[in-house]
C-alpha cells in the first residue's frame, strides 16, 4: 500500500553518475585542460584576470565613469574637433593632400635656401603670382580664411 509522499527528504548520497561522467571528461581532455589551466595561471599572475573580474563586477560603475568623462565639455569639444578633422580628412582627395604635404615638406626643407634669396618685395610677389600653382594655393588659403568667420556673417 503506497501512501502519498509529499516531500523529498535530502539524504547525502554520492551522485555517482554525475561524478563518473565528469571524471571521464577530465581524462579525455586532460591535455587541453592542462594548457587552459597554465594560461589561467599566467593571466592570474599578470593581473589580467583580476582586472577583468573587477571590470565585470563593476561594469556599471566603469561605464558610468567613461560616460561621465566623455561628456565633460572639454572632452566633448575634443571629440567634436577630432570628428571635424575626421570629416575634413575623409572628404579631401588623398592624392591632392599627399601632393600638398610633400610640397610643404619640400618647402620646409628648402627654408634655408629661401633665406639666402633675401626679402620678398611686391615685384617678386607679383612675379610669383603668375605661377598658376601659387595662385591656386593662395586661393585655397583665402577660402580657408573666410571659413573661420563665414558662419557668423551668414547668421
Amino acid at each position: 500500500m503506497a501512501k502519498m509522499i509529499d516531500g523529498i527528504e535530502t539524504v547525502d548520497e554520492e551522485e555517482m553518475d554525475s561524478t563518473s561522467q565528469i571524471v571521464d571528461l577530465l581524462a579525455t581532455h586532460a591535455g587541453d585542460i592542462g594548457s587552459i589551466l597554465e594560461l589561467i595561471a599566467v593571466a592570474r599572475k599578470s593581473g589580467i584576470i583580476d582586472f577583468l573580474e573587477a571590470l565585470l563586477e563593476r561594469k556599471g560603475d566603469a561605464t558610468e565613469v567613461i560616460v561621465e568623462e566623455a561628456t565633460k565639455e572639454q572632452n566633448m569639444r575634443f571629440i567634436r574637433n577630432i570628428l571635424t578633422i575626421y570629416t575634413l580628412l575623409s572628404r579631401v582627395n588623398p592624392d591632392i593632400l599627399r601632393a600638398f604635404m610633400e610640397n610643404a615638406a619640400h618647402s620646409i626643407e628648402k627654408s634655408e635656401e629661401f633665406r639666402k634669396e633675401g626679402s620678398l618685395g611686391l615685384l617678386k610677389i607679383n612675379s610669383q603670382l603668375k605661377d598658376p600653382d601659387v595662385s591656386a594655393g593662395l586661393r585655397v588659403l583665402i577660402s580657408l580664411a573666410k571659413g573661420f568667420t563665414r558662419r557668423e556673417k551668414d547668421q
Binding site: 503506497a2 551522485e15 555517482m16 560616460v67
Partner: protein, 972 residues
C-alpha cells in the same frame, strides 16, 4: 522589367512580393508577409509605368516597367524613412532589438542615410510596462501599424489600434487604457511583428546585447553623448559600430527551432536563449502551422523549464519518504522490480503509459519495451482521456484517425461548424484562422456548445443543446438535409457505402424529436441545415465537448456521417477536424502507444503485421489488445495489474474520479513515474525518474494536422535529468533488450521501416521548419489533404455508420446542476507548468466556478463567495464567478487546479463503451454555499475577460493619410 532586369511574378503577387521572390530587396518596413500590405511607411515606393506607387500594395502586372532604384526613387524612399526617424530614437548599439532583424535599422543602413533630416522628437507619453510579459515604449514606436494589423486581423483579439487623431499618434489598447487593464490576451502577436523595439518582451530587456544591461541613467547619458556629436560624426560610424555589436550577438544568443507543447496545433518557433535563460519565443513566417502566431502559453509560458521545483535526482521510496538516489541505483531497482513482477504475475500484470507530451520516438520506445521486453499490449497514452472517440468515429466512417486536411483547409472553408470546442481558449492559434476568415472573408460560423464562449459570441448561429445531446441535433439536421433532397447524390453513389441502411437509421431523428431532446427550436435546426446546404465547402471541428461523453464515439461518427451526406470530404476546405489537445496526443497514438495497435495503426490482432514486427524485434508478440490507460485502473482493482510505468502523465488528476484512481495507485505493488516534477501521481511512486523537458532534447511531434515536426535541443538537459527515450532505453537494456539508439533519428528510421504510413519519414526531410504530414510515401511525398481519391478502406469507399441515441447521465433531485469543465486559455490542464509563470499566475491565479446570473440570484450567490460542489463521487471547495457565459442550471469549472479543488475529484467512472474515454462532461452535482466573508473575484481585475475590445479592420491608414501633416509621396 525592373531597371533593365526582367522579373517574373506569380499570379496575385504584388510588385514587392515579386521583387523579393526574385532576390531583389526593395526597402520596406511596415510590410510583413503574414500581415500583407499595411501602407503606413511609404518606404517601398517605386515607379510603375510612370506613377509613384507603394510596391507592397500594387499588383505586379505583365509588361510593367518598374523603377525601384533610380536617384529619384531612392530619394523618395529616403524621405519616407526620414519621416519615420522623427518618431524613433536611434541608439542601436544599446538597443535590445539590435539583433540583425530590426527593419528600421536595416533600412537606414541599406539606404545609406547618414544625417537625420527630421530630428527625433519624443512623444508625450510614458512607457507602458503594466503587462507582465511585454512593454510598449511610445517613443520608439514608428506607427507602422504592424501590431495593430496582427491584433485586429491575424489574432483577431481586436484590442490594439492607432489613435490617428492625436497631435502625436500612438498605439492604444481598447479605449486607451493601460495594457494590463485591457482585453489584451498576451498572445504576443504584436511583440513578434514589431519591427523595432517599441513592443518588446520583458525577458529581452537588458539581456540581449552586451551593453543593453547598463543602468538606465548611464545609458541615457551615453545616448545623449552620441547624439551630441552626431552632426560631426554623421550616423554612418555609429551604424557601423552597432552592426559590429549586432554581429557579435550571434555568438551570444542561440536561436533554436522547437515546437510548442501546450496543445495540438503544433506551433513552431525559434527560441532565443543565452545559456538556460530564455530571451524570447520568436515565431517565423515559415512556421507551417502557425506562421507568426502564438498564444500566451507558447509565447510566454516557459518559466517551468528553469523552475526550482524541477526534479534533478532519481527518488526511491524508502520507509515512507523519498530518498535521492543515483541513476544507476534507481534504474537497477526499476528493472529488477519489473522483472520480478513479470516473473511472478506475467507481463500482462504491468501497464505502460506513454506521454502525450513526449516525442514520437519516446512513444515508440515505450510500446516497444512493453511488447518486446514484457510481451504485453498493456500500453496506452492520454488520447484515451480525450480524443479516442473522435478517432473511433473516423475509423468507422473514413478510415484514418486524423484530421482530413490542414489548418489552411479550415481557413479556406465557406462554413465552419464547431461542436463542443472552446477553440479560442483550447486551441487559440487555430481559432485565429477561423476568426480571421469569419471577420474578413465572409466565412460562416455555426457553434454548438453549452457555454457562450468567444467563438459562440462570434458565431452566425449559436446553438445551445442540452448537455450530451449533440448526436441528436446532428442526426436530425442530416435527416432534414436528406428529406429535402439536398444530399450530395453523386458523392454518395460513387464514394460511400451503406446509404440506405443509414438513411433508415435516421427515421427517429425528426426535428420534433430533436427539439424535445436538445432543447433547440426546430426553426434553428432548419436554419442550420439551410446554411449547410448553401455552403460549398464545410468543415466540422470538435473536441472534448463531444468526446468526453458516453456517446463520444457515436457523436463523432454522426459528425462524419453529416460530412459524407453533404459530400464534404475529399475537396480542399472540407472534412472532419477533431482538435487534438496535447502537443503529441496524435503522435503518441500514431507511433503505437495504444493497447490494440502497433505503430501506424496496425492491429495487434493481424498476424501478418505481428510477423513483421516479430522479425524486426526478434520476439513473439501478444495477439490480443491489452488494457488501456483508463480500464487498467479497474484492472488494478481486480488484481490483474500489479505495476505501472507512467511517463509524464498526471494520471491521478487528469484521469476521471481521482479518489478512485488514488486508491488504485495505492494498491499497486510497484509504480514508476518519469516526470519533470514531483507530480501528484509521482507522490505515490516507488521510484521517480527525473526527465528532461522538451527544450532539452531532440525528437518529433505530430500535431492535429498529422504534421510531423522536429524539435531541436534548445538547451542542455538540466543537470541530473535525462530525456525519456534515454531512460526507457536504459531500463530496457537492463532487462536484456540490447538496444543501441544513439539519436532519436535512429528510432524514427525503425518506425518508418515498420509502418507504411511513415515509410518516407526521414529527419533530413524534417530539417528546420520543414514538416511531413502522414501518410508519407516511401519517396517522401506526404499528405496535407486526405481522401481526394479514395477513403482508407480496402475498396476505397467511405462507410455510413448507423447510430442510436443513448441519453447521458441526468440530473435528479439530489444532484440538480450540470457541471461542465475544460481549459482556460492561460493554463494547460491542472497547471503544473503554467503556474510556474508568474505572469500567467497573475492573470489567472486559480480555478473557479462559473454560475449563471439566474442561478446566482436563486441561490443568493455572488462573485467571490465560496461554495462546496458535491457529486456522487466526491466534493471540492471553490470560489464563485457569476458569469453569463453559462446559463440556467449549468455550471462551468476550469480544470486548472490541483489537489483538493481538482475537478476530477468530482468525476465518475462512466465511460464511452467503444473508446473507453471517461464521461468527464456528464456530471450532475449540487452546490452548498460555505459560510465566511465574501472574497475577491477569482478572475483578477487585470484579466482580459473583464475588458472590452475595440474591433476594427486593420490599422485604418486612411486616417493617417487624411491628416494635415501628411504629405503624399505617391502620385496615384
Amino acid at each position: 522589367m525592373a531597371n533593365g532586369r526582367e522579373i517574373t511574378a506569380l499570379e496575385g503577387q504584388t510588385v514587392l512580393q515579386a521583387f523579393l521572390s526574385n532576390g531583389i530587396d526593395i526597402p520596406h518596413i511596415c510590410y510583413q508577409p503574414n500581415l500583407g500590405p499595411i501602407k503606413t511607411c511609404d518606404t517601398c515606393l517605386v515607379d510603375v509605368n510612370g506613377k509613384i506607387v507603394r510596391s507592397c500594395s500594387t499588383q505586379a502586372e505583365s509588361g510593367s516597367s518598374v523603377d525601384y532604384q533610380s536617384p529619384r526613387i531612392r530619394s523618395l524612399q529616403v524621405e519616407a524613412t526620414q519621416r519615420i526617424l522623427h518618431n524613433h530614437d536611434l541608439y542601436c548599439t544599446v538597443c535590445d532589438n539590435n539583433n540583425g532583424d530590426c527593419a528600421l535599422h536595416n533600412t537606414v543602413h541599406d539606404l545609406d542615410i547618414s544625417v537625420q533630416k527630421y530630428p527625433f522628437e519624443p512623444k508625450p507619453y510614458p512607457v507602458d510596462d503594466t503587462n507582465p510579459f511585454y512593454v510598449y515604449d511610445p517613443n520608439q514606436c514608428i506607427l507602422c501599424g504592424r501590431c495593430v494589423e496582427a491584433c485586429q486581423d491575424v489574432q483577431v483579439n481586436e484590442t490594439l489600434s492607432i489613435d490617428w487623431s492625436r497631435d502625436r499618434p500612438r498605439v492604444i489598447w481598447d479605449n486607451d487604457v493601460p495594457i494590463n487593464d485591457s482585453s489584451c490576451v498576451s498572445c504576443g502577436h504584436c511583440v513578434t511583428v514589431c519591427p523595432v523595439n517599441a513592443l518588446m518582451e520583458k525577458t529581452m530587456i537588458g539581456r540581449a546585447g552586451f551593453l543593453t544591461g547598463i543602468e538606465k541613467r548611464t545609458k541615457d547619458r551615453m545616448i545623449d553623448a552620441v547624439k551630441a556629436v552626431e552632426p560631426e560624426l554623421t550616423m554612418s560610424p555609429v551604424m557601423a559600430i552597432s552592426n559590429v555589436e549586432s554581429r557579435l550577438r550571434k555568438s551570444r544568443i542561440k536561436k533554436t527551432k522547437t515546437v510548442c507543447t501546450y496543445c495540438g496545433v503544433g506551433c513552431s518557433f525559434e527560441m532565443w536563449t543565452v545559456g538556460r535563460e530564455i530571451l524570447k519565443v520568436q515565431p517565423v513566417p515559415e512556421s507551417p502551422a502557425n506562421g507568426i502566431s502564438t498564444c500566451i502559453k507558447g509565447k510566454f509560458g516557459w518559466d517551468f523549464v528553469n523552475s526550482g521545483e524541477r526534479l534533478t535526482s532519481p527518488l526511491i521510496r524508502e520507509e515512507g519518504r523519498f530518498r535521492k538516489a543515483s541513476w544507476n541505483e534507481a534504474l537497477d531497482l526499476v528493472a529488477e522490480k519489473l522483472r520480478l513482477i513479470k516473473e511472478k504475475y506475467g507481463g500482462d500484470s504491468i501497464e505502460f503509459i506513454a506521454s502525450s507530451k513526449g516525442t514520437n520516438e519516446e512513444a515508440f520506445l515505450v510500446q516497444k519495451m512493453a511488447r518486446q521486453v514484457f510481451g504485453t499490449n498493456n500500453v496506452d497514452n492520454s488520447s484515451r482521456f480525450c480524443q479516442a472517440p473522435a478517432t473511433t468515429g473516423l475509423w468507422r466512417t473514413v478510415g484514418y484517425g486524423g484530421d482530413a486536411g490542414s489548418i489552411m483547409d479550415i481557413y479556406n472553408a465557406d462554413l465552419v461548424i464547431a461542436v463542443g470546442t472552446n477553440t479560442a481558449e483550447s486551441h487559440p492559434v487555430l481559432a485565429t484562422r477561423v476568426k480571421r476568415a469569419h471577420k474578413l472573408d465572409g466565412q460562416k460560423l455555426i457553434v454548438s456548445d453549452i457555454r457562450k464562449h468567444e467563438m459562440a459570441r462570434r458565431a452566425d448561429i449559436f446553438i445551445h443543446p442540452n448537455p450530451g445531446t449533440d448526436l441528436v441535433w446532428l442526426s436530425a439536421v442530416t435527416k432534414y438535409i436528406i428529406d429535402q433532397g439536398w444530399e450530395d447524390e453523386d458523392f454518395i453513389a460513387s464514394r460511400v457505402n451503406g446509404f440506405s441502411e443509414y438513411r433508415k437509421s435516421l427515421e427517429t431523428f425528426t426535428l420534433d424529436f430533436a427539439q424535445e431532446i436538445t432543447g433547440i427550436p426546430k426553426e434553428t435546426l432548419v436554419k442550420v441545415a439551410e446554411t449547410i446546404h448553401q455552403s460549398r465547402n464545410m468543415v466540422i471541428l470538435w473536441a472534448m465537448g463531444v468526446t468526453q461523453h458516453q456517446m463520444g464515439s457515436d457523436t463523432s461518427t454522426a459528425i462524419s456521417n453529416l460530412l459524407l451526406v453533404t459530400g464534404n470530404y475529399g475537396r480542399r476546405g472540407t472534412g472532419a477536424y477533431p482538435l487534438r489537445g496535447h502537443n503529441n496526443v496524435q503522435g503518441a497514438s500514431d507511433f503505437g502507444a495504444m493497447n490494440a495497435y502497433l505503430p501506424g495503426y496496425q492491429p495487434v490482432t493481424d498476424a501478418e503485421v505481428r510477423r513483421r514486427f516479430e522479425k524486426a524485434w526478434g520476439c513473439k508478440l501478444p495477439d490480443k489488445p491489452g488494457f488501456d490507460n483508463n480500464t487498467c485502473l479497474e484492472g488494478v482493482k481486480d488484481g490483474k495489474i500489479k505495476a505501472m510505468y507512467v511517463i509524464g502523465e498526471e494520471l491521478l488528476e487528469t484521469g476521471s474520479d481521482s479518489n478512485f484512481i488514488q486508491e488504485q495507485l495505492e494498491n499497486l505493488e510497484f509504480l514508476v513515474v518519469e516526470d519533470l516534477f514531483l507530480s501528484e501521481t509521482a507522490k505515490f511512486a516507488d521510484v521517480v525518474l527525473p526527465a528532461s523537458a522538451s527544450l532539452e532534447k531532440e525528437g518529433t511531434f505530430v500535431n492535429t494536422e498529422r504534421r510531423i515536426q522536429r524539435i531541436y535541443r534548445v538547451m542542455e538537459p538540466l543537470q541530473g535529468t535525462k530525456p525519456d527515450w534515454e531512460i526507457i532505453q536504459d531500463v530496457a537494456n537492463r532487462l536484456g533488450a540490447g538496444w543501441n539508439y544513439s539519436h532519436p533519428s535512429e528510432i524514427m528510421d525503425e518506425a518508418a521501416s515498420l509502418s507504411p504510413i511513415f515509410a518516407g519519414v526521414r529527419y533530413e526531410k524534417l530539417e528546420g521548419f520543414n514538416s511531413q504530414q502522414w501518410p508519407v510515401n516511401p519517396d517522401g511525398t506526404d499528405s496535407p489533404f486526405l481522401y481526394e481519391k479514395e477513403f482508407h478502406f480496402p475498396d476505397g469507399k467511405a462507410r455510413f455508420y448507423p447510430l442510436k441515441y443513448t441519453p447521458p447521465l441526468s440530473l435528479n433531485q439530489e444532484f440538480d446542476l450540470h457541471l461542465n469543465n475544460g481549459r482556460l486559455m492561460e493554463h494547460f490542464h491542472e497547471g503544473n507548468e503554467t503556474y510556474k509563470s508568474p505572469g500567467i499566475r497573475e492573470k489567472v491565479p486559480g480555478t473557479f466556478l462559473e454560475v449563471s446570473p439566474e442561478l446566482a440570484k436563486e441561490r443568493g450567490l455572488e462573485t467571490g463567495d465560496k461554495v462546496r460542489v458535491i457529486s456522487k463521487w466526491g466534493s471540492v471547495k471553490v470560489t464563485v464567478l457569476v458569469s453569463d457565459r453559462v446559463t440556467g442550471r449549468e455550471l462551468y469549472m476550469p480544470m486548472n487546479s490541483s489537489g483538493e479543488s481538482a475537478i476530477n475529484r468530482l468525476t465518475s467512472r462512466y465511460m464511452d463503451p467503444a473508446a473507453h474515454t471517461p464521461a468527464y462532461k456528464e456530471l450532475p452535482v449540487r452546490i452548498e454555499k460555505l459560510p465566511g466573508k465574501r472574497g475577491e473575484s477569482p478572475l483578477p481585475r487585470t484579466n482580459p475577460r473583464n475588458a472590452t475590445p475595440k474591433p476594427q479592420v486593420g490599422v485604418q491608414v486612411e486616417k493617417k493619410w487624411a491628416r494635415k501633416d501628411y504629405e503624399k509621396l505617391t502620385t496615384e
